[in-house]
């Protein structure tokens, strides 16, 4: 990988890039960023959430939201061509074919009203001469390549019918479709289970080998960095604080910030089990939960054509006790989010019982009937962007729940301002609107909103996936503290086995709608019994690197 010839031109060359917000009091977002990516090279951009990683990649694509942000200085050269001054038709031609991007938030990045198939098809349609049939075949093959199950179904589905990870894979398939010279991947695997993640990463590697593609890879997962990076740039507050070859940065970090970051990477080894609470009282109990989605096109329904069904959840049972954390890990698309949504009755389960404090709410109808149960349970959605009303200031969103419970505005606001600081955001965030935040910042806001309610149960669906490890550590610590204090029960859905290992008491592994294994975290993660669980643990990225020590773990097979 390092045998690139010296004189070759970098694919992407960023020099002293500066970006600021528009408006009367511009604030600086990027304060002079400089880096190059050579053909075939993978540059990992890591660093603090909100440090400007996504903005950097948007500039490179020429997609900066012009009404709000503006590049105030510097150059961005793609194969020697300045993107900042290129004509719209030129950038259009470059996008897709020359450079492609996988966006951070796949949930909002796909058009909700167009089928996945059409959105994929467009990529070929815009840049190749293929005929419709060929395009369809190519699309199905691409879906296959990113390990989407039942590509034909996916092809006909709409985005809302896919799980988070499935959408992310669709985005990846789109970006890879034309084998671009430059691939920008903004946290491309946050919603993927580790086995799938591994397959995706090797897919990108394959492309790189064949096409000499340059990859700008943004991630918070240090394990992934270990596995994919040639070089690493560490960003903080709009600046690059450290840059260098991956081994060097990971083993001999120069900056204190980098060192802190590496220290914060959770270990894969499960923590010591906590003493089970005395006669652990189950706040939530799920019995034989079933959920089948049926869908077909509108015309199909009118014509009485066969309705297709997806068994998203199949006979799932579990108990969640006060003060405990239950982790759900497993394959992407295995029904984890669906279980969570059913628990909160945002979906009608097709079968089974959902007991909250002993009361079965599976069959209740109407907001009023569900309100008491819902008050105890809060959810952090997998999709923080969509779960915040874009028209409301963050402050309004945060105090909405407390106001509903009768708290007065001033005290709710005060609590909100304290809480945003606790999750690592400035107080002034309360005055801003959701779109003015980075992905990780929004996720923290969503967490803060759930915490504001002081619930008995929190269902956290991929709640920390977009956070850098140090912020992640803070947020998890906060969660643990509240759990301790308020005897909170947590249902924690995650793909990050390191996180699961550190915070879960019990772990449940799901695959294709079923629970394949469950038990105490120390058992399941340390001594997996089921094949799938084993495969999962083996696929965990960066297994062979000890971040605390800054070296490879001897004897671990890569």
């Amino acid at each position: 990988m390092t045998e690139m010839a010296r004189p070759t031109q970098p694919v992407l060359s960023i020099r002293d890039l500066r970006v600021a917000t528009r408006g009367r009091e511009p604030s600086k977002i990027l304060k002079g960023i400089t880096f190059d990516i050579q053909p075939g090279e993978t540059l990992c951009l890591v660093g603090e959430s909100g440090s400007g990683k996504s903005v950097t990649s948007l500039v490179a694509m020429g997609l900066l939201p012009r009404d709000e942000l503006q590049a105030t200085g510097g150059t961005v050269l793609l194969n020697g061509e300045d993107i900042l001054t290129a004509t719209p038709s030129r950038t259009k031609a470059l996008r897709g074919a020359e450079m492609a991007m996988i966006f951070q938030e796949p949930m909002t990045a796909l058009n909700p009203v167009l089928t996945i198939g059409l959105q994929m098809d467009e990529v070929y349609w815009a840049h190749t001469q293929m005929r419709p049939k060929e395009r369809r075949e190519a699309a199905l093959a691409a879906f296959e390549a990113v390990h989407l199950p039942d590509p034909a179904r996916i092809y006909e589905s709409f985005p809302h019918q896919l799980s988070g990870g499935q959408r992310q894979r669709v985005m990846i398939a789109m970006a890879l479709a034309l084998k671009p010279k430059l691939l920008i991947a903004d946290e491309p695997t946050t919603a993927l289970d580790v086995t799938t993640q591994k397959q995706i990463l090797s897919l990108i590697r394959e492309l790189q080998d064949k096409q000499n593609t340059a990859v700008l890879f943004i991630t918070h997962d240090m394990g992934v960095v270990v596995d994919v990076a040639d070089r690493v740039c560490v960003m903080r507050r709009g600046e690059i604080v450290e840059t260098g070859p991956v081994e060097q940065v990971l083993s001999q970090p120069q900056e204190a910030y980098t060192r802190d970051l590496l220290q914060a990477v959770p270990s894969l080894v499960p923590r010591a089990p906590r003493a089970p609470a005395q006669e652990a009282e189950a706040v939530v109990e799920i019995r034989n939960l079933e959920k089948t989605f049926s869908f077909s096109s509108l015309f199909g329904k009118l014509m009485g054509r066969d309705i297709r069904t997806v068994r998203a959840v199949n006979n799932v049972s579990f108990k969640l006790a006060r003060g405990r954390t239950l982790g759900i890990v497993g394959e992407s698309g295995s029904g984890k989010s669906t279980v969570a949504r059913c628990l909160l009755r945002l979906e009608h389960p097709t079968g089974g019982e959902i007991r909250v404090n002993g009361q079965d709410i599976a069959l209740l109808e109407g907001q009023a009937a569900l309100a008491p149960a819902r008050r105890r349970v809060q959810m952090v959605f997998q999709d923080p962007n969509r779960s915040l009303n874009p028209r409301l200031r963050i402050g309004e969103s945060l105090i909405e729940g407390p106001l509903n419970l009768g708290e007065d505005r001033a005290s709710a606001l005060k609590r909100a301002s304290e809480l945003v600081e606790v999750v690592g955001l400035p107080r002034t965030s309360l005055e801003r609107f959701p779109h003015q935040f980075s992905g990780g910042q929004r996720q923290r806001i969503a967490i803060a909103r759930a915490l504001m309610m002081e619930p008995e149960v929190i269902v956290a669906d991929e709640a920390v996936s977009a956070l850098d490890v140090s912020v992640q550590a803070q947020v998890l610590a906060l969660l643990a503290e509240i759990q301790q204090r308020r005897n909170l029960a947590v249902l924690f859905i995650t793909h990050d086995l390191r996180v699961a290992a550190q915070i879960c008491d019990e772990v449940m592994v799901m695959q294709r709608g079923r629970v394949v294994e469950d038990g105490p975290a120390s058992e399941v993660l340390a001594r997996p019994r089921h094949d799938y669980t084993r495969a999962l643990i083996n696929a965990a990225p960066g297994r062979d690197w000890d971040f605390a020590a800054g070296r490879r773990i001897a004897g671990a097979d890569a």
């Binding site: 909160l344 309100a371 969509r386 028209r391 200031r393 606001l413 609107f433 309610m453």
Partner: protein
């Protein structure tokens, strides 16, 4: 947690409708609208003649020193009539638009949110839409004796279903959003949820629809006047000045154009204000100076 002045006190800024210095077009729009309202209020001071004062010998005269904008087919002073016409027209236009929105908006929100009442309510609206305004107006006038209120009602009632449909459509789409689910989980009661999360999504289209209803009400009022419903043709309104002018359009189109020009100015101003309002309510436009 003392109640004394707390340096940590946090408040959220209200929507910035007035804070930034408004764009010059907005200022102009406000000035025009105020001027038209003033014209209506101070019509007796501004007008040169009684608007009903007729002079058969001076029919259809072009503009002159005495008759600034000329005279109509009764020999009445067009300028004075246009000035006085602002009274009825502004009331009818604003009355209809405001009324239809005040009634239609809540109904649309309810129909969109509560599937249970959607069917019945919307079918009622279908039925309401089918009843011609003329017929309704004639009947109401027969029952109540005509007048401004009658006219406003007769025009407003067929307009209500349009508002309801528009609002409902937005709500139906918005209720599938995750942030609505989130609000439900936060225990937001339906009324507040509708108010805070659903209502704002309907504002941009409602501004457009409202402008449209304002304008069409002013023109419809004339149509009704000519069927003898309501205000009658003696009292001037922009609508009935234009409708009367229609007969003489080929020989003196200013009879139609003068009121149309004033009306255009109003519509332009309302449009500009609507745009400003829309932009100010759009969080993604908050950073801009416009």
């Amino acid at each position: 947690m003392s109640a004394s002045s707390n340096p940590m006190q946090v408040t959220l800024p209200r929507r910035r409708l007035l804070q930034n210095p408004p764009h010059w077009t907005t200022v102009l729009a406000v000035i025009v609208l105020l001027a038209v309202v003033a014209m209506a209020v101070f019509a007796p001071l501004l007008a040169n003649f009684e608007p009903t004062k007729l002079n058969a010998a001076m029919r259809l005269k072009p503009s002159s020193d005495t008759y600034w904008l000329g005279t109509d087919s009764f020999g009445r002073d067009l300028y004075s009539r246009v000035v006085y016409g602002a009274r009825v027209s502004l009331l009818v236009g604003a009355g209809v638009a405001a009324g239809a929105i005040l009634i239609g908006l809540p109904l649309g929100l309810l129909a969109g949110w509560y599937r249970g009442i959607d069917g019945v309510l919307m079918r009622m609206m279908d039925g309401l839409m089918a009843i011609p305004g003329i017929l309704l107006a004639i009947a109401i006038v027969a029952l109540t004796r005509g007048g401004l209120v009658t006219v406003i009602f007769a025009i407003m009632i067929p307009a209500i279903p349009q508002v309801v449909r528009l609002v409902r459509a937005r709500v139906i789409a918005a209720r599938e959003e995750t942030y609505v689910d989130a609000a439900v989980l936060l225990g937001t009661p339906p009324a507040k949820l509708i108010w805070k999360h659903l209502l704002p999504t309907t504002i941009a289209p409602l501004i457009v629809q409202g402008t449209y209803m304002y304008a069409s009400a002013i023109l419809t009022e004339a149509a009704l006047s000519f069927l003898g419903v309501g205000i009658g043709t003696e009292i001037p309104s922009w609508g009935n000045i234009m409708a009367e002018g229609r007969l003489y359009f080929a020989i003196n189109h200013w009879l139609v154009f003068w009121p149309a020009i004033v009306l255009s100015l109003c519509i332009l101003s309302i449009n500009l204000l609507g745009d400003t309002l829309r932009d100010r309510l759009d969080p993604k436009m908050q950073g801009r100076n416009a």
